[in-house]
């Protein structure tokens, strides 16, 4: 299955993914790819389904959620059909996860060095001493000062930014092919956030690791990601390169989201707010999910739009996409 980006097979290939809670569809027919060495952003607000999509890859969906359709391939492994032991082998090794709340993801009772080294002990069967030595190098790689001392510290002795970097070090331990980062900079200071983003970029440059970066913050994405998927109410409404999305957003929702983001770098006279609210799970109608709030909605929008290609890598799910250089 050739990827959109190069001729090679993608590292992560999600096809027609549909996830349902009893009686509600929360992720609908999502197709998503991440190529080797690519940084792909998955953007959405609450209720968009972005987190559930990521959890499906990791098989960490909540108990009531079920994948009713679709395939998820990590290289040649079918993620939805693995046995428990196969999954245990893959997670941490080929596929790593950086969760949102690093403070809660670290065990407060164990020294950081032990936690960072743990994947090595489990997957590579090396001794704890050897793992700790490697942990020192990992902490250095994420720019933590005095890593030899830091491995003996406990999580509460680390600041938020340092904890997040420790989580990244843990994710890197086994040199995975794909890192899934779920809002990894939430709650961090702006300057620390910039460092974490830069670090992830470095990792991709140095090791060719692919990254799936999940966020609600458009600004984070524009500097460091290659391609972007925009989700709304369970569907991918637009996908394309960073240039496509930010310079010429074609879906009314993408454009509205950009127009609603305040800027410190430029004087914005009016933030355009989108009328209405994000639909709650039970309220999603048939037809275009964004139609109730869309300023361009027409009668045809009562039918669910199909994806159309604006340019080779730029796709929109809309009957009336905006023109290439329309202003909001």
């Amino acid at each position: 299955m050739a990827s959109m980006t190069s001729g090679l097979a993608p590292v992560l290939d999600i096809q027609n993914l549909t996830i349902e809670f009893p009686g509600q569809r929360v992720v609908d027919d999502v197709n998503l790819e991440v190529g080797a060495g690519e940084i792909v952003a998955l953007i959405g607000e609450s209720g968009s389904g972005k987190t559930l999509t990521a959890l499906a890859i990791l098989n960490l969906l909540p108990r009531q959620a079920h994948v009713t359709e679709g395939r998820i391939m990590l290289n040649h492994w079918p993620m939805l059909h693995l046995t428990a032991s196969q999954r245990r082998e893959l997670l941490g090794d080929r596929l790593a996860f950086i969760p949102q709340d690093s403070m809660r993801a670290l065990n407060p009772m164990l020294p950081v060095g032990d936690q960072v080294g743990e994947p090595l002990v489990i997957h590579r069967s090396i001794s704890w001493e050897a793992a700790r030595r490697i942990a020192v190098n990992l902490l250095r790689a994420v720019h933590l000062k005095e890593p030899e001392k830091r491995i003996a510290d406990y999580p509460h002795q680390f600041s938020g930014g340092m904890q997040q970097r420790a989580m990244i070090a843990m994710a890197l331990a086994l040199e995975p092919e794909l890192i899934i980062a779920d809002e990894p900079t939430t709650g961090l200071d702006v300057t620390v956030q910039a460092q974490v983003i830069r670090l992830l970029g470095e990792i991709r440059d140095r090791k060719g690791t692919s990254i799936l970066f999940i966020t609600h913050d458009l600004g984070l994405v524009s500097d460091f990601c290659d391609r972007v998927y925009v989700m709304y109410a369970g569907k991918v409404v637009e996908q394309g390169s960073v240039g496509d999305i930010f310079d010429s957003p074609r879906h009314p929702y993408t454009a509205a989201l950009l127009a609603a983001t305040p800027s410190a770098l430029e004087r914005v006279s009016e933030l355009v707010s989108i009328a209405g609210q994000i639909p709650t799970r039970g309220e999603i109608e048939a037809g275009c999910v964004f139609a109730p709030r869309c300023p361009r909605a027409q009668p045809l929008c009562a039918e669910a739009p199909v994806e159309s290609e604006m340019s080779p890598r730029h796709r929109v799910r809309c009957w009336y996409p905006r023109g290439p250089i329309e202003t909001p």
């Binding site: 607000e45 200071d189 600004g219 305040p262 770098l265 933030l271 707010s273």
Partner: protein, 270 residues
């Protein structure tokens, strides 16, 4: 006229723990003022002291030294009826929509409370005032019967704004009121806040770590770092031509989709 003034305010918290250093100065010798009808933004990262400063301006925490002056009076010299009168004038909007509303009270009762406490208007008419205020923040009368957990984050913040304005205060102090909201909801709440500010002639202070939000709403801005103000001035001046290296570092680090646009305007780029 300077409605609200902060004069050389410092705050040190007492040492609570048995070990560890005695409390550091969380706010160091801060002075600023807000003129009537103006909006002052206070930006800073964690540890900057901005939230502590705001709470001192709300008379929730006592300054270790210095004073907070409202209409010429030091807030901490007031007591009893005088203090109650001032409380009516200075109101607040807090950050977390989930915890700023009492989960066991209906919206209507939450909004009625300030009117009851200050005995505003004949009690029969207070419910009408609650409804009028709900409409003013873009909600409908039937929201009065609901409980906070039945509302979305954006709706809860509208209620928080309603609670802040229902007594007709002169000053509203806001502590990161949109940080917990989605971008599209944030835009709605920011626009609502702008409109209400204009209609009611409010003076306000807006604390945030989000520089874009502060630039959008505020006439002037103070940048705080580790308890001190490192730069203060009109928004457009500070944002367009920052003087202090820390301000410049913050602006460089801020995630901004428009950065692409601006950098792509640099001549010579391929």
């Amino acid at each position: 006229m300077k409605l609200l003034e902060v004069k050389n305010v410092s705050k040190r918290f007492d040492a609570r723990s048995w070990f560890g250093r005695p409390g550091d100065l969380v706010v160091r010798d801060v002075s600023l003022s807000v003129a009537a009808g103006q909006t002052l933004g206070i930006v800073g990262e964690s540890g900057s002291g901005k939230s502590t400063l705001l709470r001192m301006m709300l008379r929730l925490i006592r300054p270790t030294s210095g004073s907070i002056i409202f209409r010429g009076q030091d807030l901490w010299t007031l007591g009893g009826a005088e203090l109650l009168a001032v409380r009516r004038e200075i109101q607040a909007i807090f950050q977390d929509p989930a915890s700023s509303l009492n989960p066991r009270q209906r919206i209507g009762d939450i909004l009625l409370a300030p009117l009851d406490v200050h005995r505003i208007g004949p009690s029969k008419e207070r419910r009408d005032e609650v409804v009028a205020t709900l409409l003013r923040v873009g909600l409908t009368a039937d929201y009065a019967r609901r409980y906070p957990h039945q509302l979305s984050g954006g709706q809860r913040q509208r209620v928080a704004i309603a609670r802040a304005i229902i007594m007709g205060p002169s000053v509203v102090l806001a502590d990161e009121p949109t940080s917990a909201l989605d971008v599209s909801v944030q835009a709605q709440i920011l626009n609502l806040f702008r409109e209400i500010k204009r209609n009611l002639g409010l003076t306000s202070v807006f604390v945030s770590h989000n520089l874009g939000v502060v630039r959008y709403l505020c006439d002037s801005v103070a940048v705080m770092r580790q308890g001190e103000i490192v730069e203060i001035g009109p928004s457009e001046t500070v944002f367009a031509a920052p003087q202090h290296p820390y301000t410049r570092a913050l602006l460089d680090a801020v995630p901004d989709p428009r950065r692409r646009l601006l950098s792509s305007l640099v001549p010579g780029e391929g």
